[in-house]
Symmetry: C2
Subunit: 560 residues, 2 copies
């Protein structure tokens, strides 16, 4: 059986490593030129550090490490609990389905009270908060979160089930719902067991470990602290093209200052790196959380902000009318849409956009503050200029809405359509989760894997110095090999990557090796060279041969 | 509660990262100069790739990753099995203890037959192979492996227990033994469950993943394949000073050639790297597995080889007589010791040592072959010369005895006593475990963490360029900041690490920051500078100030 690697992970060949390192070192160099300092954190953290920081979905996608040694010990209780509970669950499921069916025979449309009476009658699974009774499986799904509340309290897992059996109309639905509930229930139990058999987990991103680092080492850190970090992270995501279970993040953050000059510097940093990598007209999109809040305020629909931006983002696809319709469908009033009409014809340069926003959000203090912040960044960048990128205000940019509080960045390659190749923003209370309050931070990230694909597609890796020797010495025998090794010693001390073909193999075989590895030069050392104390240098592309002494050999191979 | 990291792991501060990168890049550069190519493999592999490759202890120390999602599903059977079994075990333990006690009352010294009869009488836990009955707890421990055999077969777990209860003399011993057996038993069960809830595991070293890589990509690889790899590995070891649960390995290996020139090159490689790092008189110890086999052959005690080398290694501590006594104590005959007497006065240079060995091992073909191999390596190195290290034949060197088949390397720092800072050797069938036969390999490894400690102790990190800006611009306000940013843009494009203090804070505060970060230069930009279109450069160590234009500023900060 052929060996393999886990899905979503990758081996990197020498050429791939070289290309990746070219990107890493380009980014690293600029990070340092901009005054950022490197830190590194462990690959796994205590689960308590990571869990609950990325939402329920995130918790699910975190790779957990099994405790070493006898991880069962602490568990035996839970296993029993788990089994008893699982059995009783099924037992009650069926018992209740029957009771519900009977109840239904008697009264086809029982009232909530009738149902609850039936329940109270012989066990105490009474819902804490009385919710209106759902009318169908679909509705029950809409009440999902209510049931999840119930599930938190072991007993009341059965309530929604009974509801469902009273109001679901066919067995398929009943089965689906039963399974759905059972899985929720089981997932609950797993959530209880997992922390006991696993106390460590693989890093999910670099931001939370960084926050942990800042709090843990706050006394050794000089603020404002400009740090960069380039390390792999792991996510149990479903692998897809361009999405892996192990991938690198390249982050730069500053904590301890609210200065908007940092927003300016990050725009410059993006511009510098992508210019160095040879990308042209990279688009650095800029938005501000406060402007989004302002819009929500103006259209008086905070909860519909995402629907709004998503719809607005489709402007060039479906046109103003299409967008309007979608917004209305999402329950945004026509009056509200009227107020933000300018966004439907949101053209012109950044200054013009800012003017339009200023008029539109005049009633929102927060919105106006967001505009001032954008104004500052855009204004300074206008004066400082960019090398090859373009800074573009985009009010549909809503990434990281739940934690960014100020600037929001997203970078798009101009010549290749591949989604964002970078992003970031300002978060006002990063370290709060670990008890260090009021430390404002701002950071950006480079998407290595996507940048790689872009450079590959635009054939921008030519400049990369591939990991192969500059010269190979053919091996004709012990005496000649020793003579070659003496030259190689000299070459290597002059940083010329050199290699001796290890075995005294057939000439053809040795040349094949040199060709396959695309080695530029080969040195032939036979009896004649040894006696005449010379070397025959062969250029593998031109085929031309030169016989020369060691000093010349070193000179020829050191240059270029 | 203050956040923390798992024991055995480390955060690395900017200075630590810089120092570590200095070591990494020094090693990396020489790896490439010697013609090695980088590869990278995933942090976690399929458990099947790793388990069983490092011995039972190794399997225990491998970090296992919990399957994501509903990892319980496949398990329910096992849990039940586990519980029933655990209960019944305890039940029988006690039942048997009593029966054994009674048996003892009747016949104080029961014969084996009597015991077995008592056992047969009401359950079938009959020992498959009849072993002599141990006479004490200690003896029982000596029969450990017999009991473990029993444990493999569920039923017979009780046999050794009964023995113990018949022949153990006090309750403490009984309790110890009961616990000891119970844990063995439980561990067996865990071994059944773990593979079901965990199918991936963190890399334990770089060698097995490399072997897996070679086999998996054999068709894309040009042999001989010279690869290097620098990545972290993870071990659930008990953390100690200098031993961590996450640490880097830096390996270079060649597969696909038996040429002894590679042994020669690895000696040179060690010499080059440690010379570059500033270490003097590094001792590169060299041995050959075939010589050790030769010795074992001559003393006619293959199984006592380790005892022999361990004892011999103590020569300078306990002297020839002490060593002899220890060897005799270990059961090596005096005649045997007589045959290898030369090793007790094993002085002189490598050539002299080889002569002595040649006489001593004349009767062992394998031994002589090992000597020829050493002869070749030592001979070529003599002709090529080393820069600062010393190559030393050491026949007590017995690392990796179970997989190395030829050369064995170990490197010791000369000025600091800290154990080996590198090691390696030749293994004749690395990829065999994955089904690719007859690929000989040889490799060495650099011990990053120990090298770090050595350089620290010898204060050899001065040359390291710490990750801090060369110059900080003081921030006096928006106009001045913009003027500063214009200069910084120029400086950064000339690779001068530059930073603007982000906030318009008190002069004192900004200077404190510069001092704490040990920033060499500060640029003062006030109203005056802006109007006169100049910059005031302050040298923070001398305190001297220069007012100059941008071109001069760039020149002053670019040089040195």
């Amino acid at each position: 059986m052929k060996p393999s690697i886990p899905k979503g992970t990758r081996d990197f060949s020498p050429v791939e490593v070289a290309k990746r390192n070219y990107i890493f070192s380009t980014i690293k160099k600029e990070f340092e030129t901009y005054g950022f300092q490197p830190i590194e954190t462990p690959s796994f953290e205590n689960s308590s550090t990571l869990m609950g920081k990325y939402g329920e979905e995130g918790d699910r996608l975190i790779f957990k490490i099994l405790n070493s040694g006898d991880y069962m010990r602490s568990l035996e209780k839970d296993f029993n609990y788990f089994h008893i509970y699982q059995k009783s669950a099924f037992f009650f499921f069926d018992k209740l389905i029957n009771r519900a069916k009977n109840l239904r025979k008697v009264t086809p449309q029982p009232s909530k009270e009738e149902i609850l009476f039936t329940l109270e009658s012989d066990f105490d699974g009474y819902p804490s908060k009385k919710k209106s009774v759902p009318k169908s499986f679909i509705e029950i799904h809409n009440y999902y979160d209510v049931f999840i509340d119930h599930l938190k309290d072991k007993k009341s897992i059965f309530i929604p089930l009974v509801y469902s059996n009273v109001f679901l109309d066919n067995d398929k639905e009943k089965f689906q719902f039963k399974t759905f509930l059972y899985h929720e229930f089981k997932f609950n139990v797993i959530n209880k067991i997992t922390p006991k058999i696993s106390e460590k987990a693989l890093r999910y991103d670099l931001t939370v470990p960084f926050a942990r680092y800042v709090v843990q080492h706050q006394n050794d850190i000089t603020f404002p602290f400009k740090r960069y970090q380039m390390q792999p992270v792991w996510r149990a995501d479903r692998p897809q093209k361009g999405r892996f279970r192990e991938f690198y993040q390249c982050d730069a953050d500053v904590v301890g200052s609210k200065s908007l000059w940092q927003e300016v510097e990050f725009v410059q940093l993006y511009d510098t790196v992508f210019t160095k990598l040879g990308l042209k007209k990279t688009i650095i999109k800029l938005n501000n959380r406060k402007i989004l809040s302002g819009i929500a305020e103006v259209i008086d629909a905070k909860d519909k902000l995402i629907d709004f931006t998503v719809a607005l983002d489709k402007l060039d696809k479906i046109g103003a009318e299409g967008v309007t319709n979608e917004m209305i469908a999402k329950g945004i009033s026509e009056e509200a849409i009227e107020k933000v009409k300018p966004l439907f014809d949101f053209t012109g340069d950044n200054q013009e956009k800012l003017e339009q926003l200023r008029g539109m959000l005049s009633s929102s203090e927060e919105g106006l503050q967001g505009i001032d912040e954008l104004q500052f960044v855009v204004g300074q960048i206008d004066k400082l200029g960019l090398q090859s990128s373009e800074l573009e205000i985009d009010v549909t940019l809503a990434r990281g809405l739940n934690y960014y509080t100020g600037a929001i960045f997203e970078v798009k390659a101009n010549e290749v359509s591949i989604g964002s190749i970078g992003g970031g923003g300002r978060y006002d209370d990063l370290t709060g989760i670990f008890g260090l309050k009021n430390i404002s931070g701002i950071g950006i990230s480079f998407g290595l894997d996507r940048i790689y694909l872009v450079l590959e597609e635009l054939d921008l890796f030519q400049r990369v110095d591939l990991p192969k020797p500059k010269v190979m010495f053919v091996n004709f025998g012990e005496k000649e090999a020793l003579y070659s090794m003496q030259a190689m010693k000299e070459l290597r001390s002059n940083d010329v990557k050199s290699e001796l073909y290890p075995d005294t193999a057939k000439m053809k075989k040795q040349m094949n090796y040199a060709n396959k590895r695309k080695i530029e030069f080969v040195v032939l050392v036979g009896d004649q060279e040894v006696t005449s104390n010379s070397y025959t240098l062969k250029n593998m592309s031109t085929g031309e041969q030169t016989n020369c002494n060691l000093r010349t050999l070193v000179r020829l191979l050191s240059k270029n």
